[in-house]
Subunit: 362 residues, 3 copies
C-alpha cells in the first residue's frame, strides 16, 4: 500500500497525538482515524468502504431519490443541511463529478462554492496548498477535492486533524489510484440493475480498456470484490493490465478473475460490461505503446454477441469505445449511471454530515 509513504516526511514537532499516530500507522489505522464508530468523517480511500456501508448508502440514495419526486419531499431534503456550506476544489478538469457533487450538495440545501483554478487563489502569492485548504475549511463544512497528486486529499485530512479543525473531506479523484465516489456510483448502478433479480452477488462482470491507469476501474474492481461470488473478467491491452497490488488484493479475497487481451473471449457470458476510456493523457508519464482501440470498443457485432439482459456501463467521458448509436440499445445504462452518481453522492454527503438516518426514516 504505497499510499501511506508520504506521512513519514510530514511529522513535525508540535503535531497532535492523533495525527502522529496516523502518520506512523498502517492504512487500516488511518482508516480508523478517519471515522467515528461506523460513520466516516472523511472519504479518501476506496478501502474505507465496506459492504455494509455500501448497502446503507444505497438505501439512503434510493430514499432521497424517491423523496425528491414530490415537492414536499424535495423540500424535506433541502431542509436537511440548510446551514452547511460545501466547497468544491477541483484542480483537474471534470464535468460529471463536479456537477454531481454540486447538485447533490444543493439537493440537501447546502450552499456551494467552487475553486477550479489555482490562479484565482492565494497560491499565486506563495501560499502553501495546505494553508489554502485549511482556509477553505475555516469557512466550509465539507471540502470536495479533486487533485492530480495521489496523496493530496489524504494530506489535507492530516492537516485538519493536526489543526483540530473538525470539518469533512471527500476525495473526488486523486492521482491515478483513488476515485472512491466513482466506485460507489458504479456499484450502485449494478445494485439497482440487479435488485429485482437477486442482487449483485454471484454476477459475472467484464471490465474492458485501460485497467492500469484508470482510477475509476480500480475503484470499481475494489468494490466488486466486496460482493459474494462475483466473477470478474478483465480485457485490456497487455500494457494496461491491472497492477500487482490489485491482483494481490483479488487473490487475497479469493475473487475469481480471468484476464485476456480480447474482450471477445468473455463478452458472451457477462451480466454487465464496464467499458473504459484509454487514458492517453497519462501517455507521457506512463507510456503504453501502440494500442488497437477497436479491440476495446463496442461494435454492432459485439452488441450481438452480448446477452440480451447484459448491462452496459461506462464511467464517462467516452470516446470511440462506445459509439453514440449504442445509447439507444436497451442494454445501455451509462446515462442512468450519471444520474445515479448524483444520488449516491447525496447519500454519501448525508452519511458524512450525519443526516442520513433522517432521510431513511422520512
Amino acid at each position: 500500500m504505497r499510499l501511506i509513504v508520504f506521512f513519514s516526511n510530514q511529522v513535525s514537532e508540535g503535531m497532535s497525538v492523533v495525527a502522529k499516530e496516523m502518520a506512523e500507522q498502517s492504512l487500516d489505522a488511518q482508516i480508523r482515524l478517519m471515522q467515528t464508530g461506523d460513520r466516516l468523517q472523511h472519504l479518501i480511500y476506496t478501502q474505507q468502504l465496506t459492504r455494509g456501508l455500501l448497502d446503507t448508502i444505497f438505501d439512503t440514495a434510493d430514499k432521497a431519490r424517491n423523496l425528491n419526486a414530490s415537492r414536499m419531499g424535495a423540500t424535506f431534503l433541502k431542509e436537511c443541511l440548510p446551514n452547511q456550506r460545501a466547497l468544491l476544489y477541483f484542480m483537474q478538469p471534470s464535468t460529471r463529478t463536479f456537477l454531481s457533487f454540486h447538485s447533490a450538495a444543493s439537493l440537501l440545501g447546502m450552499s456551494c462554492v467552487h475553486i477550479t483554478s489555482p490562479g484565482s487563489s492565494s497560491e499565486v502569492k506563495g501560499e502553501s496548498p495546505l494553508d489554502s485548504v485549511q482556509t477553505f475549511a475555516m469557512y466550509n463544512d465539507l471540502l470536495v477535492i479533486r487533485h492530480p497528486e495521489a496523496d493530496f486529499a489524504a494530506k489535507c485530512v492530516e492537516r485538519l486533524m493536526q489543526s483540530e479543525v473538525s470539518k469533512h473531506i471527500i476525495s473526488a479523484g486523486s492521482g491515478m489510484e483513488q476515485h472512491p465516489t466513482q466506485g460507489i456510483l458504479d456499484v450502485y448502478t449494478l445494485q439497482r440493475e440487479f435488485s429485482r433479480k437477486g442482487g449483485v452477488d454471484g454476477r459475472r462482470v467484464l471490465i474492458v480498456g485501460d485497467l492500469a491507469r484508470g482510477r475509476a476501474a480500480r475503484a470499481f474492481i475494489y468494490l466488486l470484490a466486496l460482493y459474494q461470488d462475483v466473477q470478474i473478467d478483465l480485457a485490456s491491452p497487455e500494457s494496461m493490465k491491472i497492477t500487482d497490488d490489485l491482483r494481490e488484493y483479488l487473490e487475497r479475497r479469493n475473487v475469481t478473475f480471468r484476464e485476456s487481451d480480447f474482450m471477445d473471449d468473455f463478452i458472451g457470458e457477462a451480466d454487465a460490461i464496464y467499458m473504459t476510456r484509454i487514458q492517453d493523457e497519462y501517455d507521457d508519464k506512463f507510456p503504453v505503446g501502440d494500442v488497437d482501440y477497436d479491440l476495446y470498443s463496442l461494435s454492432r457485432d459485439r452488441l450481438s454477441m452480448m446477452k440480451g439482459n447484459c448491462s452496459i456501463l461506462h464511467p464517462l467521458p467516452r470516446r470511440k469505445e462506445i459509439p453514440v448509436f449504442v445509447d439507444r440499445d436497451p442494454r445501455s445504462r451509462y446515462w442512468e449511471q450519471v444520474e445515479n452518481g448524483m444520488w449516491a453522492r447525496v447519500a454519501l454527503i448525508a452519511h458524512i454530515l450525519n443526516c442520513d438516518l433522517r432521510i431513511r426514516t422520512a
Copy 2:
C-alpha cells in the same frame, strides 16, 4: 431559413420517432415539436415567439417585479421553483445575459451553476460537446446555452429529444443569428414605455448600426414585426444592411420599412431609437470595409433632432455610439432595459418551467 440545414446530417439509425420527424421537417414543424400546447419546452428560435406569448410573458414579468417589491412577495417568488436547478453554459463572453439569467433563476428560488470554459470540463478528455450537454441535463432542469455556433443549441434540443431526457433549454445567443431573449426584453422595454400611451402598435422605430451581424437587432426586428402597423426605419452602412431573409420576412408580413445610410434621415420622426454596436469581432469572418462610426452614433446635435418623448434603447455593451453623457438624458432607457431583461427572463423561465400562472394569479 437556412437554420435547419444541419439536421439532415444528423439522422442516425436508432433515433426516436420524434427526433427523426424533427430532423426531416420544416422550421414550423421543429417549433411545434419544441412546445406542448401553447407552452414552450425550449426557446431556441426567435421565430417560436408569437404576439400572444409575448403579451403573456410581459404580464408575468410585470407581476413578478411587483411581487418582488415586498418581502412577502419576494418570498413567494423564491418558493416558485425551490427544487429546480439551472445550469448556465456560456461559451461566449457575456456580462448582462449571464448575470440576468443567474439573477432570474435565483429570484425564482432555483439553484444555479455555471460553466464558462471548456477547459474546466471533460471536453479536454475528448468528450463530445453533446455528451457534455446531456450530462448537464442529467443534473439540471434548465440549461441556458450561449455558443458561437449557430446551430449548437438546436442540436442540444435534438439530442435531449433523442435521448428522451425531459429537460429544458433556452438559447442565450447562438452564432450571429439567434438571440431570442434579447428580443423579448427589447420589445418588453418598448411595451412598458408605451403602455400608458396606447402600446407598441403603430409606433415608428429607428434601428441604427450593425444590422447584418448583430443578432440582437435581428431578434428585435423579428419581434417588432409581430405588432400592428409598426413602421421600421433602418440606418446602417451599406455593408451592414439587414440580410435578405429578414427583408423577405418583413415584406411577407407587410411591414412598412425604410432603409438609409444616414440615421439623420429618420431621427426626427422616431418614437424609439434602437442603437447598436458595430460588431467588429466578426470582421475577420465577415469583413465590412471601412466604416465612419460617427455616422451611427448619438451626438448632442442628434439628441436635439430627436422628439422630446423618443426613447433611446441599446442592447449593450455600448462603445462610442452612445457617449456616457447621454445616460443623463431623460429619454435614455438602456439602463432600464438591463433591468427589464432580468424580469423578462424571470417570466420566460416561469413560462417554460410552468409556474407562470401561479405568479400571474398571486
Copy 3:
C-alpha cells in the same frame, strides 16, 4: 490624501448634484456622501470607520456567531436577507477575502455570484469597466469589489451615485492602500482576544514586515489609532517603512509609535504581534532592494522572547515569516483571525444592508 485626486477628471456635464459635490469636495465630504446618518451605504476607505462603528460591528459579529451555533439561530440568520443578491467582482487573486465574503453573504441568506476574470465578461467587446459595474448593480444589491487600481471602487460608487442606482459597494482591497475589511477583522481579533482583560485600549502592538506596500498593515494601523493609549511598534526594512501620510496621521492623533529595522527591539514588550508578508509582487513597480527575510520572521528563539500571553496575528497568506510549527504555539491566532473575518463581514454586510439591529436584538 491623494486618494481623491481622480475625481477632478471625472466631472462631466450631466452629472447629478450629489455626484458633483462629491467630486469637488474633500475626503471627509466624500465620506459623508457615502453614508446615511450613522449607516454606511458603501465601504471604500478605512477612514470611514469610527470607534463607535467598529464596536457596533463587533457586537453584531459576536451575536451572529452565537446565533449560528444553533440550528434555529442559523435559520434566523438565513432569513435576514433572503431576497438580496451579492456579486463578488474580484480582479485580483484572493482566497480568504473571496471565500469569507461568499460565506458571509450565504450565512445571511443572500444568493451570490462571482466574476473573477474580465475575459468572461463584456469587457472583451470594449465595454468600459464602469458600464460593467453599473450592469452588475442593476441585478444585485451588493457589489464586493477587489481591484488592482487604487481608485476603482471609489469610481464605481461615484458612477452609481451619478446614475441614481441605490445599491451598495464594499471594497475588498484596492491598489496598495485600501483594504478596510481586513482592518476590521484584524482589530476584531484583538478585541476578542483582550475582551476579558480590559479591551484593546492601552495595548502595545508590534507590526512586522512590509509596512510600505501592504494594504492590510495600513488598514490595521489606521484602525488601531482609533483606540485609547495604544502603543504601536513598527519593525521593517528601511525600504518598507510606513509612508509619510500614515506617519502624519499617527502624529496627528497623538499615537505613540516607535520604528526599528529589528523586531527584536520590541518583541519582548508586545501584547500582540502582527506579522506580514514581504509583498514582492510589487517589486517591479515599487522596488525595495535586497531584504534579509529572516529578520522579519518568527523563529523558536523569537517565540521564547515573546510574552507568554502575546497574541500572534497575520493577515495571511504567509510564507516563511511564520513557519508551520508556530501553528501549534498556543499564542497563535491567525487561523482564528480567518474565521473572525467571516463574522466581521457578516456584521458589515448586515450593517450596510440594514439588518444588523435585527441580529443584535434576536
